[in-house]
């Protein structure tokens, strides 16, 4: 009956040993004045005594014949559904995933379950990356798919253990990560010593931020980074599209609908802004797999009417995406 503000949720991912627990302990001991509830995975090892740390087995509920886009985390629904009834509600939730977990169902839980949607709002996916060893995970290990997906889902990448890697290698690594995820903010850190505002106040799923796409990453691949261009056969990549002018709203709607219907399982994140013909306002959107959220982004004002979209996913066909969108232009 009361309109309580929704509680922000940070989803913390990263491989074992990357520094997730170090970051969690920093968050829980920092003097930020917030009551934080932590849902840690079954292997979690938060070292401090804290009332609202709950360990859980990651339990996936398949909701529609096993479609990845329709899976949610049953344990989160159960645990958070109970905790949210407490009068002294917490101010924030952090969900720590295991190193091998797919962040998709965690994110989707807060979009697909009505109770979760009513009470919580995903602030961001934060992925802690071990600068020294991440390439092993990305390139050679059996879990390379999971490692790439964790990078791909992130709003924030914390490049941890930077003291163990030389400056040139760090530059290369950042470039490599950018190739996978052009949207994430990258912060370098040692022992996860980082301004917590970069972790807790991100607004990665806030539509107001959907248009904060660095134009640099929308340039064609070969126009930048030519000094240190390495070829990696990434099947998880970012594809940026930028086009001036207006597009046909009905065509865009049909294109996106068909795109997520046919490729939603492989699209991890998408964000963008459209200039729709006849609409004086910007239309902004963001999505996860098959879930798309769109809103009015306010008047264009003095800005040039243009469309900008970024897809992050697996086996994305850059040309087909570009062609598909350009067919929507008027």
């Amino acid at each position: 009956m009361t309109d309580k503000p929704r509680i922000p949720v940070t989803i913390l991912t990263g491989f074992l040993g990357a520094g997730k627990t170090t970051l969690l302990n920093r968050i829980l001991t920092a003097q930020h004045g917030k009551r934080v509830a932590v849902i840690e995975n079954e292997f979690g090892e938060i070292g401090i005594d804290h009332e609202l740390v709950v360990s859980t087995d990651e339990e996936i509920f398949e909701m529609n014949n096993g479609c990845i886009c329709c899976t949610v985390r049953g344990d989160l629904i159960r645990i958070l559904g109970k905790l949210v009834k407490r009068r002294d509600r917490f101010d924030r939730v952090i969900v720590e995933t295991t190193g091998l977990a797919d962040p998709g169902p965690v994110v989707q839980t807060f979009f697909m379950d009505d109770d979760m949607k009513e009470n919580f709002v995903v602030d961001s996916v934060v992925t802690v990356v071990d600068a020294k060893h991440v390439l092993l995970h990305l390139d050679t290990s059996d879990d390379s798919d999971e490692a790439r997906e964790q990078v791909a889902f992130a709003d924030v990448l914390i490049l941890n253990k930077c003291d163990l890697v030389g400056p040139a290698d760090l530059e290369d690594l950042e470039r490599r990560l950018r190739g996978i995820n052009a949207l994430a903010k990258i912060h370098r850190a040692i022992e996860c010593d980082i301004d917590l505002n970069h972790v807790l106040e991100v607004g990665g799923f806030n539509l107001d931020h959907a248009t904060e796409i660095d134009p640099h990453f929308l340039e064609p691949e070969d126009d930048h980074d030519h000094h240190h261009h390495h070829h990696h056969d990434e099947h998880v990549t970012s594809v940026g599209i930028e086009a001036d002018g207006d597009c046909d709203g009905r065509k865009v709607n049909a294109w996106l609908t068909e795109l997520v219907r046919t490729q939603g399982q492989d699209i991890f994140r998408m964000k963008g802004v459209f200039a729709i013909a006849g609409n004086p306002d910007r239309v902004i959107f963001q999505g996860v797999h098959m879930l798309i959220d769109a809103a009015n982004g306010g008047p264009w004002g003095d800005r040039k009417r243009a469309n900008r979209i970024v897809f992050i996913g697996r086996n994305l066909d850059r040309k087909a995406l570009n062609d598909g969108f350009r067919a929507c232009l008027v």
Binding site: V54, D57, E62, N65, R78, K82, R86, R87
Partner: protein, 340 residues
């Protein structure tokens, strides 16, 4: 029909559950956090019992004696004889993890709880009696068969699994491919109903070994209640209360349910009065509504509780019921017309 408030008590938090003792002399109040309260039939607080850590889960009375069992997220289960003493007669550390459900068998010989995927049955003194094979995921609810106190159903991802005490394998399993969150067993033992993660209800007819799937709800179904004659199943799942007939060979199959409007927000608690067809419905709109679906779809009486009505418990004999709200109020209400 007039509804009179005869007592109001403030609990420490959102009221998760209410339970009257078998003779109606005591009412247990389970708030989300803080002390579990023990009230008398007029709503006077007799005792405060210790909480269960981050959150309490259940406080439930023995079906035939004044024994109370409580559990919560501290993994502990306590048994009290509240008439004699307000200190626990026994405290059992069941394990590391949350105990979210607790139910006495209908004959009072056993007490069932779940710790994650484990369904655990204790005897009435709290000593281990039976443990079954692990379930597919954490058990979210359980229900004893009112007709057979040796049969129990547990629900989780994968639907419902039915066990018999002393047997190593389930005697029935209803896996519909998704997760069930709530379970109720009809008093005649014929029907088992589950409220699911998807906005649906699954209903199993044991007499025909036949599953039914009921869809079309606006939201997840958070409340299920069979009436004491097992003739009707009331379900939430949106603003309308939907009542399904459970009589005849086919029960609800092909039947048109009664839909009861009245709430402006989701129905979240349902309870039939024993021995008659009065249905109490609690809503997120703060309204308690009494229906008599057999005669009319229109509300017979309403009471504005001011905050979501999260729990309802009818007194076993007197014309009164208790409600608990999301802001921690417990109100004992009297309905004089029901005494006639």
């Amino acid at each position: 029909m007039e509804i009179r408030s005869i007592a109001e008590i403030e609990a420490s938090d959102h009221v998760l559950g209410l339970d009257w003792s078998h003779d109606g002399s005591l009412l247990a109040v389970t708030p989300a956090s803080g002390d579990i309260l023990l009230l008398d039939a007029d709503g006077r607080c007799l005792a405060s019992l210790p909480d269960h850590g981050i959150s309490n889960s259940v406080a439930t009375f023995h079906p035939k004696e004044a024994r109370l069992a409580t559990c919560g997220t501290d993994g502990k289960l306590r048994i009290y004889e509240p008439i004699r003493d307000h200190a626990p007669e026994k405290e059992i550390s069941v394990g590391k993890g949350w105990l979210e459900t607790l139910e006495w068998s209908p004959d009072g010989f056993h007490l069932a709880t779940a710790l994650g995927r484990r369904l655990i049955v204790l005897d009435a003194n709290g000593d281990p009696a039976h443990e079954f094979a692990e379930h597919k995921s954490s058990i979210s609810d359980l229900a004893w068969n009112p007709k057979n106190p040796r049969e129990i159903a547990a629900v989780c991802d994968g639907g419902a699994t039915m066990w018999r005490l002393g047997e190593g394998e389930p005697f029935a399993r209803f896996d519909w491919g998704g997760a069930s969150l709530l379970v109720e067993w009809s008093a005649d033992g014929r029907w088992l109903a589950t409220g699911d993660q998807t906005p649906s209800v699954h209903l199993y007819d044991f007499t025909r070994d036949y599953p039914l799937h009921i869809q079309g709800y606006e939201t997840k179904v958070k409340a299920l209640a069979f009436n004491s004659a097992s003739r009707s199943l009331a379900t939430g799942g949106g603003r309308l209360v939907t009542v399904w007939p459970c009589t005849g060979k086919r029960g609800p199959e092909g039947a048109i349910p009664k839909q009861l409007p009245g709430h402006d927000a989701d129905c979240i608690a349902l309870a039939w009065r024993r021995g008659c067809d009065i249905l109490a419905s609690g809503g997120a709109d703060g309204m308690l509504i009494l229906f008599e679906p057999a005669s009319s779809a229109r509300p017979r009486a309403q009471y504005d509780a001011g905050a979501e009505v999260a729990a309802i418990a009818w007194h076993p004999s007197a014309p009164r019921l208790a409600i608990g709200t999301g802001d921690g109020m417990v109100v004992v209400l009297e309905i004089p017309d029901l005494a006639k």
